[in-house]
């Protein structure tokens, strides 16, 4: 599991790499006794929720661009 995160952390994708590094930091903190397992679970779930928020936001931005792009075309023909 950590191997996958290490691979993502070292990938060229800056956005994903940063988040993978956060997850690895959380894991290290639990192993070193700097964070409880309950705290870690909550933070890791937050990361998943944030990823879902990002996907929703991306979809909304594309939808808005499409909608207003088409509206502009309609106004040009009017």
């Amino acid at each position: 599991m950590s191997d996958q995160l290490i691979a993502v952390a070292n990938s060229g994708d800056q956005w994903a790499a940063e988040r993978a590094q956060y997850a690895l930091q959380v894991h290290d903190a639990v192993v070193n006794g700097q964070m409880s397992k309950e705290e870690a679970s909550e933070v890791l779930q937050d990361m998943i929720n944030t990823q879902q928020l990002q996907e929703q936001a991306n979809a909304d931005q594309v939808k808005a661009a499409l909608f207003f792009g088409i509206t502009q075309l309609i106004s040009m023909y009017a």
Binding site: Q25, Q34, M35, E39, D46, Q54, Q56, A57, Q61, A64
Partner: protein, 130 residues
Amino acid sequence: MKKLLLILAVLSLSACSTLESLKEQIPSRWDANQSLIVTDMQQMTRHIDCTADLKSQLHSLFMKVEWYDIYASTKGTYDMAKLDQVMLTTIKEFQERTDKGPVSPMYCDMKKKVLVQQADIIAKTVQGRF
């Protein structure tokens, strides 16, 4: 006549619900108030101080996000209103844990990072509208 009024009442209710569902499908336009409040949210998350009193900081942040939620819902900008739910949950859980007692510095640091990310995502979506 009574029957006609009843039919008209039912039709107007149905039209209202159709209008509301239609509004939910249309992307909302750029809004100065939402742009201001999301910038406040970005700034507040960036300045969370894990060495200071967290309860008051989290309360202030929660109030700010709640303001955004109430405004977006009342205005009918449903696409923007649904964005803040994740952030509200993140703050509520953070508040519940700080209410129980001291949290680990690492936990606070990671929650701050997550909140900064969430505020940035919401802000980019709010500001990126036309």
